[in-house]
């Protein structure tokens, strides 16, 4: 069997004295969609933030598509990566945040073409063409020249998803993408994630939307207190959880 796209082995993460990830081990096969569930403070967000090295880890290793991350930083083929190479590594991993984080001084299209032009070196025409195409697919073509502050939360999140997708990353990370949205706006964002953003990419999604998890996940993991408590198919974890903690969590959020 081929190596998994993302491989975590005994990952340790501390915030000061707080032990956030406790010897966490997890495989995400290429093309898989892994949904991460768990109560707040269980380390779900930290887990995805370690995969693109927004957070350093203090122990263990993470291998992402051939790049190894450990407590000292990143390495590929046994050689340490420079800050510039770390930045380049991140271009292959899209990330969608709970709070959207669109650049507020740029229009929607400006947000979308910033990295392809500035980081990947595309021509502006090429970036605008691809950006407009994707914005059209999420029904935001008419908002291309609007500033983020004038958009609804659902529109902002769809724009943020396009900003990641335009880079055509191999991996997509979603850190509670709908938790900051009004209930009536959640559906439109989940549809875009399912129909456009995942699209055969390796994806790790932190969410509390169980219906969505059942719909898209190839695997579901349940975390508590920095550990993976339960892991399996959506039916197995969501319908027939083995662990009491998983059962009571699912009861609470349904």
């Amino acid at each position: 069997m081929a190596d998994p796209m993302i491989q975590l082995r005994g990952v340790q993460k501390y915030f000061g004295a707080l032990h956030v990830l406790r010897e966490l081990t997890l495989d995400v096969p290429a093309g898989a969609t892994v949904v991460v569930l768990g109560p707040s403070g269980s380390g779900k967000s930290t887990l995805v933030r370690c995969i693109n090295h927004l957070e350093r880890i203090q122990g263990g290793t993470i291998v992402v598509d051939g790049t190894a991350i450990d407590a000292r930083g990143l390495a590929r083929d046994g050689r340490r990566l420079s800050a510039r190479q770390v930045a380049r590594f991140r271009t292959g991993i899209g990330m969608v945040f709970q709070s959207f984080n669109l650049f507020s001084h740029m229009t929607v299209l400006g947000n979308v073409i910033e990295a392809p032009v500035g980081v990947l070196g595309w021509s502006r025409e090429q970036a605008v063409a691809r950006g407009m195409e994707l914005l059209g697919q999420v029904n935001l073509a008419d908002k291309a020249h609007s500033y983020p502050a004038t958009l609804s939360g659902g529109q902002q999140q769809r724009a943020a998803i396009v900003r990641s997708l335009v880079m055509d990353p191999k991996i997509m990370l979603f850190d509670e993408p709908t938790s900051a949205l009004d209930p009536e706006l959640i559906g439109e964002v989940l549809r875009v994630i399912r129909d456009l953003a995942i699209g055969g990419r390796t994806s790790v999604i932190v969410t509390h939307e169980l219906g969505f998890a059942r719909d898209v996940a190839s695997r579901v993991i349940f975390m508590d207190a920095g550990r993976v408590i339960e892991e399996g198919s959506p039916e197995q974890v969501l319908e027939h959880p083995r662990e009491e903690r998983t059962r009571s969590f699912i009861r609470r959020i349904v």
Binding site: N52, L54, A83, R84, A87, R88, F89, R90, T91, I93, G94, M95, F97, S99, N101, L102, F103, S104, H105, M106, T107, L109, G110, I113, E114, A115, G118, V119, L120, R124, E125, V128, A144, H145, Y147, A160, R163, S164, M167
Partner: protein, 230 residues
Amino acid sequence: MSLNRLARLVWEYREAFLSGIWVTVELSLLAMALALISGLLACLGALARNRLARAPAILYIEFCRNTPILVQLVWVHFAWPAIFGVKFTAFTSSVVALALQSSGYLAEEYRAGIESIEKGQIEAAQSLGMTYGRLMRRIVVPQAVMRMLPGILNQFVTCFKSTSIVSVIAVPDLMYHAGLIVSATFLPMPIYTLVAAMYFLMVLAVSAAVRRLSRRLPTFGYFQVRHAAA
């Protein structure tokens, strides 16, 4: 005193008034230009991780902000020759003292502006593969400048008003000329009232421009994508 006589007085001393106003404007512009640069250096020092860079920068900022402008002026003009071996003209000393004062406040404006940028903006930029230099240049600084501009412009207004102190070391600004005219005419009431009105109108004009500008800032063209129509 009749208005007629006041008008004649202004006309008679028009050159003195004009040259005083010019010196005042020149002083505040030069001092602010110097302060914008030295304040930025002080701010970068204060934000540095290296303690050896941070300590002197913070000391400089606190010194500038916590000493009166009159004391700074006299200190630069009369003490620097002995301390640093540099003897400035009264005009240069005034520019330096005003710049000292303003740079302390500007450094704090810069720092507040940069620190006000949400962490999420930086993380989004990082996750898109931007290096530290690029994300500072493209994401943090443009947004910080927008937030700083009203504060910087207000500091300019303060600096402009502070220039009136330089007549103490005989720099021929508006206030200094007013003093000369009063000694020649023995008319302190109308002359000083007139000078107060002049400062009032000039500062009012600058403040109004500042307010207008801050309201319009978010829609400035610089922040638009210029080639979006392509």
